[in-house]
Structure formats: structure tokens, C-alpha cells
């Protein structure tokens, strides 16, 4: 530092932002800043992601050989159960809404915070309480029913910790409800002047639809869990056929939430992908209103298709027909989105940065996941592939290929805003490639396995050794996928210290969140923003010399 020559760079006086405003544990644990709460969520869901991933790895290792030689049957049952519960309730459902949604929603609509900042913090604490109970449950024996808790096995037969897992999920469910409540009220009441509904980023529309599902679906699964716990603890007979109860009623109540829950996972991801595709093709999204309302349509239709999980559970053939038809209907709004994204790309000026690579991955994998969903909605094929690896592959294409791809794409896209640093682009593109290859190698063989008849939830397939080759491929893919997930974590952490400082708008993207500092100040904007432009005005951004397009109305 004894250098006498004046430095050519301007001395780096860091602006005050939400990260450096206060330090210390309590400034984080008692924060009501939505951006800090988003980071608390980021840490906690990453933790659970790796726990769930660890279980997945053990499952794949067991299936490497036809014989059941790594773990015992009971342990295997617990492994896939805990993998499902952790990944669904403690990673996927909070993933994009609680991290990116929490961080971006107020920024995107020009608000200082969510409508109820303390309830937002409460929702994180509920998540943590639920998570701690879930960890305790896992460490002291776990659950072996599958994440679906099917009665009467869960209510009358298994000796594992159903009630404890139920309590954990019940509490985490209320965390999800409160997040949804906060989002709905914030979107309705906290928009900046000029931020009309048709100027909202489609990310916001997607989160609005997601919140509706969280609000109306989660309470039903909560009360179902109450009934299961009451049935176990007090020996009621609500779902037990021996006592006059109906196990199919349990499935109805469970899937009434748990099918729409899939849309809680995928809709926010669709929102992320919409933002990324518009930015990296430098175009206004094609058919804005169609994309916006298709989110709402997915939320509404999503509530009307639950019994397609129960075609072989003994529901009447007429109701099966109706639910099959409605399941086809939910493909329409999803297809509208895919076509509109593709149309946005058409004649766009496409940039192949890492977020866009994830968005491309999403586009392909979600389409495969969605189309195989139509196989499953068809009554005849459904009977053939029920409870096989075809189902496993299908929902992993949606949940991992869709939701997680979108989550990673969004994390890359908004990382400069969140951390104020740039991630290393080369590594990020490599990681996106590894994730894509690893994912397909893991799950595509499972479609084939399922179609050939390999049942899900079997730990031993030694009577069918010809399945081994595809299982080996799948396990190899899972290893590659694991590397693909570890890489971003490594370079994100690295970039927090060594990454290049990000400008306020490194992508030259539209959207209010890019008009404030990176990282943003605690109250998001130094001056209250007033919106006078339409969403996704990339044509204006890229041709600033052109006369400003007059705003409609």
C-alpha cells in the first residue's frame, strides 16, 4: 500500500446495501427484509437439497446391481420415502418462491418490502421448525410409507414415525401458506405507481398463480395429515376399511393438494424461464397476455385433475374418464407457454449465456415431461405403466428437469443482483451442460425401464437381470448430475469473494429489479419508482436512440 503512484481506479467506497448495512447473527435471524429472508431460505433449502440428494445417491447405488446388496428392504423403503419428503416439502415447494420469489417480488413491482415482513420471517421460522422435526424424524428412524402416506398402511400398519413426519410437513405447509398469502396481498396492494397488471413481469403472474395453489391446496393436505395423525394416535377409523373408513378418500384428499403441488413447483420455474428467454433473445415475450393467463389457467385446471393418480385405485370408470379428459385439458395452457417461448425465440437475438442454457434445458425437458404426462393421463397406457419407473421418470422430468433447471437458471440470472458479484461464465456454462447431460442420462433410461415393466420402489430386481444395463446408465448419470449441482455451489461461493463486482444491470435486462443497485439497498429503491413503460421493452432498451414508444392509454 506504500505505492505513491495514484491508482487509476476510483477508490472503491461500497454503497450501503442490504448485505453490508448491518452485521451479526441477530441482524439476520431477526431481519424482516425480504432479501435477507430469501438468503436464509437459500441456505436452508440448499441444506435440505443435499440431504435429499444423498438419499437419492444411495437409492441409485442400491439399484446399480440387480441384487439387494447395499441396503436392506426396510432401509430402502425409508430411503425413497425420505428422499421424496425432503425434496418435495423442504426443497422443491419453497425453492423458487421462497428464495427468488421472496427476493424479487417486491423489487419487480417496485415495493419496499412484502406486505407483511414479519409474517415473512415467521414463515421461515416455521419452515425451520418443520425442518428440524423432519431431521429428528429421519435420524431416529424415518418413515417407510413413500412420501404419499397412503392409508391404511400409514394409519394402521407401519411402525415408523408417521406422526412426527406429519407434524413436520404440517408446519412446513403453514410456512408455504404464509408465503403465498404474503405474495397475493403484495401483488394486489403494493405495486408501484404505473405498475398495472398488464405491465407485471410474467414471473409475478406465475407467482400469483402459484400462491393461489399454495393458499387453497395446502390447507387440505394439512387437515388430511391431522386426520392421519388422529387416526394413528386415537385409533379413529376414518381411512381404515376395517372400521368402515375409506382409504380411497385419503387418496382423494392427499392428491387434491399433492397434484396441484406439482404446479407449485413448476409454475415459478416457468416464470423464471419467461424472464430469461425474453432477456436473452432481446425481445418482448410473444403473447404476453396468453402467457400470463395460462399461468392462472394452470392453477385452476390443476385443481381438477387429481384423480389421475388414482386410476387403478378403484375409482369408477366414469370419473376416471372425466379426470383423464381434464388432465388433457391442463396440457393446453402448458402448451401455450411452450409455444409462446418458442415464438419469442423466433428472430430473436439469442445469447447463449448460462441462464439461457438452463432455460433451453428447461424447454426441452419440460416438454418431454409434459408429453409423457399425457401418456399417463391416457387411461389404457396408465394401467400399463402405473407404479413403474415410467412414472418416476415422468415426474422427475417435471420436477428436476423442469423445476430445478428453472431454479438454477434463475439463480444464475439474478445472482449479480443478489450478491453484487458476477459468477464465472465459463464454469457456469460447463455446469449447465453437465447438469443437462447428467439429468438425461439419469432419467431417460428410467422411461425405458418403466415401459419394459420395472416397478418403482423395488430394491431388488434379481429376477430381471436384463434391467441392469439401463440402471447402470441411470446411476452413472446421477453421479454426473451430482457434480453438476456441486459446481454452481462452489463457484457461487467463490464469486462472493473473488467474483467481479456486478453493475446494476449486467444483462441490460428490462424489469424494475435491474433499475436499482446490485445488491439493492435495504428498502430496494432510493426513490420510489414510477413505471411508464411496458414490460419486456427490449426493443427500446437496445435502440435507445429511437423515439420512445408512446405508452398505451
Amino acid at each position: 500500500m506504500a505505492n505513491a503512484i495514484p491508482q487509476p481506479t476510483i477508490p472503491q467506497v461500497e454503497r450501503e446495501n442490504y448485505l453490508n448495512k448491518e452485521y451479526g447473527v441477530w441482524s439476520w435471524l431477526l431481519t424482516t427484509d425480504h432479501k435477507r429472508i430469501a438468503l436464509l431460505y437459500l441456505l436452508s433449502i440448499t441444506f435440505f437439497f443435499f440431504i435429499g440428494g444423498f438419499f437419492a445417491l444411495l437409492i441409485r447405488l442400491e439399484l446399480l446391481t440387480p441384487a439387494g446388496d447395499l441396503v436392506q428392504a426396510d432401509t430402502y423403503n425409508k430411503l425413497f420415502t425420505m428422499h421424496g419428503m425432503v425434496m418435495v416439502f423442504f426443497f422443491l415447494i419453497p425453492s423458487i418462491p421462497a428464495v427468488l420469489g421472496n427476493f424479487l417480488l417486491p423489487l419487480m413491482i417496485g415495493a419496499k418490502d412484502l406486505a407483511f415482513p414479519r409474517i415473512n420471517l415467521l414463515s421461515w421460522y416455521l419452515y425451520i421448525i418443520g425442518g428440524v422435526i423432519m431431521l429428528h424424524c429421519m435420524l431416529t428412524g424415518g418413515v417407510d410409507t413413500g412420501w404419499t402416506f397412503y392409508a391404511p398402511f400409514s394409519t394402521s400398519f407401519t411402525n415408523t414415525k408417521i406422526v412426527e413426519a406429519g407434524i413436520a410437513i404440517f408446519i412446513a405447509g403453514f410456512s408455504s401458506i404464509l408465503t403465498g398469502l404474503n405474495f397475493v396481498v403484495t401483488i394486489h396492494r403494493m405495486r408501484a405507481p404505473g405498475m398495472t397488471w398488464s405491465r407485471l413481469p410474467l414471473f409475478i403472474w406465475a407467482h400469483y398463480a402459484t400462491s393461489i395453489i399454495q393458499l387453497l391446496g395446502t390447507p387440505v393436505v394439512a387437515v388430511t395429515i391431522v386426520l392421519v395423525a388422529a387416526e394413528r394416535a386415537l385409533h379413529l377409523g376414518i381411512f381404515d376399511p376395517k372400521l368402515g373408513g375409506d382409504p380411497v378418500l385419503f387418496q382423494h384428499l392427499f392428491w387434491f393438494y399433492s397434484h396441484p403441488a406439482v404446479y407449485i413447483m413448476i409454475l415459478p420455474s416457468m416464470g423464471v424461464v419467461t424472464e430469461i428467454i425474453a432477456c436473452f433473445s432481446r425481445k418482448r415475450i410473444f403473447g404476453y397476455h396468453f402467457v400470463a393467463f395460462s399461468s392462472i389457467a394452470i392453477a385452476v385446471f390443476g385443481f381438477l385433475v387429481w384423480a389421475h393418480h388414482m386410476f387403478v385405485a378403484g375409482i369408477s370408470v366414469y370419473s376416471a374418464l372425466v379426470f383423464s379428459f381434464l388432465s388433457y385439458a391442463v396440457a393446453l395452457p402448458s402448451a401455450i407457454k411452450v409455444f409462446n417461448w418458442t415464438a419469442t425465440l423466433y428472430k430473436g437475438s439469442i445469447h447463449y449465456d448460462a441462464p439461457m442454457l438452463y432455460a433451453f434445458g428447461f424447454l426441452g425437458l419440460f416438454t418431454i415431461g409434459g408429453l409423457t404426462g399425457l401418456f399417463l393421463a391416457a387411461l389404457g397406457i396408465n394401467v400399463h405403466v402405473t407404479d413403474t419407473y415410467f412414472v418416476v421418470a415422468h415426474f422427475h422430468y417435471i420436477m428436476v428437469g423442469g423445476a430445478v433447471m428453472g431454479y438454477l437458471g434463475g439463480m444464475h440470472f439474478w445472482w449479480p443482483k443478489i450478491s453484487g458479484r458476477l459468477y464465472p461464465e465459463g464454469w457456469a456454462r460447463l455446469a449447465a451442460l453437465i447438469v443437462f447431460i447428467g439429468f438425461n442420462l439419469t432419467f431417460f433410461p428410467q422411461f425405458l425401464l418403466g415401459y419394459m415393466g420395472m416397478p418403482r420402489r423395488y430394491y431388488d430386481y434379481s429376477h430381471m437381470p436384463e434391467f441392469q444395463i439401463l440402471n447402470v446408465l441411470s446411476t452413472a448419470g446421477a453421479t454426473i448430475l451430482g457434480v453438476g449441482y456441486l459446481l454452481p455451489m462452489a463457484y457461487f461461493l467463490w464469486s462472493m469473494r473473488y467474483g467481479k463486482p456486478a453493475s446494476d444491470n449486467p444483462w441490460n435486462a428490462a424489469g424494475l429489479e435491474w433499475k436499482t443497485a446490485s445488491p439493492p439497498p435495504t428498502f430496494n429503491f432510493d426513490e420510489e419508482p414510477v413505471v411508464t413503460w411496458e414490460a419486456y421493452n427490449y426493443e427500446e432498451l437496445d435502440a435507445p436512440h429511437k423515439e420512445e414508444v408512446p405508452v398505451a392509454r
Partner: protein, 245 residues
């Protein structure tokens, strides 16, 4: 239900930073532009929460209606064994408490502090009376061995309107399972409501509510009304299945 984004004109000067208003309104939180926005947010928040509550009870009502249809004679017999007079009294108690809640909100709007305190207090007394009567009913059921579980017994109870037929104890137990879960969760909501009203009473005692700011009274009242309405559905469904002599 005004939309703040649509009503604001683009050219207007938006000079409502929280601090400027906080000087004369300590209740205005920093992230709201104006008290009206804060009030609308709180009120919408409670309505949305009540929508989740509808779904929460909705799952139970769904289960109840299915089993009631399947096992109607047994449900009718079981329903006859619970005390409709006590149930009707409780219904009247809750309807009266809804009236006092409305009066409390009105008192807050018109700055009548004594009346507000009085009405909140009466509401709480009525709530406690409801829980007391409910406790008596539970005690009766316990003594009659109508609580589901090992000691449950419902033998030789005639089906109303079908002389010589007896209710199936298993199916009657289903009725009581749902009865206890539904009324139990409702009572839990009442207890939470009493907690909220205790806080409202303390705040009212301290004179915190003004005609400009009494949002907690309003949204607390909304919650109370909701819990009342759930009972309005529970009472006929559980108590009045088939009361013909």
C-alpha cells in the same frame, strides 16, 4: 377495493416516504406509502387467510358428507345422542357474539372507547360460555363412552324412524370421530380467537385504537365472524341429522 396502481396518476408527485407520515402516524409501517394502503393490505390478508381456512375445514366437511351419505342411519342415530339443546344454545351464544363484535368495530370507528372495551369483553365472555358448554357436551360424551377408541360403545341404539333396527357401532364411531375432530378444531379456533381478543382488549384499554387506525379490531372481527360461520354449518350438520321423534 381500490387498486393503488391504477388510481395513481403517472404525473403525480409521489412524495410519501414512510418517514414523512410516520411523524403523525406511528402505526404506519415503513414499507407502506399511506395508511389506506396498509389497511387494505391487512384486510385483504385476513380475507385470503380465511379462504385458506375454508379449505382447511372443507376437507373435513367433504369427509363428513361422504360418510354421512354412506352410513346415514348410523349417523342419524349417533347424531340423536348429542344434546341439540346445548348445541342450539351455543349457536345462539355465537350469533350474539357476532353482534357484539360488530358493535365493537363500530365503537372503534366512532371513538367510543368504553363501549369498545365493553363489547370486546362481552364477546370474550360469550366465547368462554361457548367453550364451557362445549366442555359439558364433551364430558357427557366421555361418560356415555361415545369417545372413539378402546372404550367406545354404541350397542343397541335404535335408528331413528326405523323401529327394530340398531345402528352399527363402527359406523357410529365414524360419526363421533368426525364430530370430535370437527368441533375440536373449531374449538381450537375459538381459543385462538380469545387470544386475539385478549390482545385487542389490552390495546383498547390503552386507547391505541382511533377512528383513523383500528385495523386490528376489524380484521380480528373478521376472524371471529368466520369461526362463528363455521359453527353455523357444523350445528345443523352434526346435531340435526334426523330429529323426528
Amino acid at each position: 377495493m381500490q387498486d393503488n396502481a391504477n388510481t395513481s396518476s403517472f404525473t403525480a408527485v409521489h412524495d410519501h416516504h414512510g418517514e414523512a407520515h410516520a411523524a403523525h402516524n406511528p402505526a404506519l409501517l415503513h414499507h407502506f406509502a399511506e395508511p389506506q394502503q396498509q389497511r387494505d393490505a391487512a384486510s385483504l390478508g385476513m380475507w385470503v387467510f380465511l379462504a385458506t381456512e375454508v379449505m382447511f375445514f372443507g376437507g373435513l366437511f367433504c369427509a363428513y358428507l361422504i360418510y354421512r351419505r354412506w352410513y346415514f342411519p348410523d349417523f342419524a342415530a349417533a347424531s340423536k345422542s348429542i344434546d341439540a339443546t346445548l348445541g342450539a344454545t351455543n349457536t345462539a351464544v355465537l350469533i350474539c357474539s357476532s353482534l357484539t363484535v360488530v358493535l365493537a368495530v363500530w365503537a372503534a370507528q366512532t371513538a367510543r372507547r368504553t363501549l369498545l372495551i365493553l363489547m370486546l369483553g362481552i364477546t370474550m365472555l360469550l366465547g368462554l360460555a361457548f367453550l364451557g358448554i362445549k366442555g359439558v357436551e364433551y364430558k357427557d360424551k366421555f361418560e356415555e363412552h361415545h369417545v372413539p377408541g378402546a372404550s367406545f360403545s354404541f350397542d343397541h341404539v335404535p335408528v331413528p324412524g326405523h323401529p327394530g333396527e340398531f345402528a352399527n357401532p363402527r359406523h357410529a364411531q365414524m360419526f363421533f370421530s368426525l364430530y370430535f375432530v370437527m368441533t375440536g378444531l373449531h374449538a381450537l379456533h375459538m381459543i385462538i380467537g380469545l387470544g386475539i381478543f385478549t390482545w385487542l382488549l389490552i390495546m383498547a384499554w390503552k386507547g391505541r385504537f382511533t377512528p383513523e387506525w383500528h385495523t386490528p379490531v376489524e380484521i380480528g372481527g373478521l376472524y371471529w365472524h368466520f369461526v362463528d360461520i363455521v359453527w353455523i354449518y357444523l350445528f345443523p350438520l352434526l346435531y340435526l341429522i334426523d330429529r323426528h321423534p
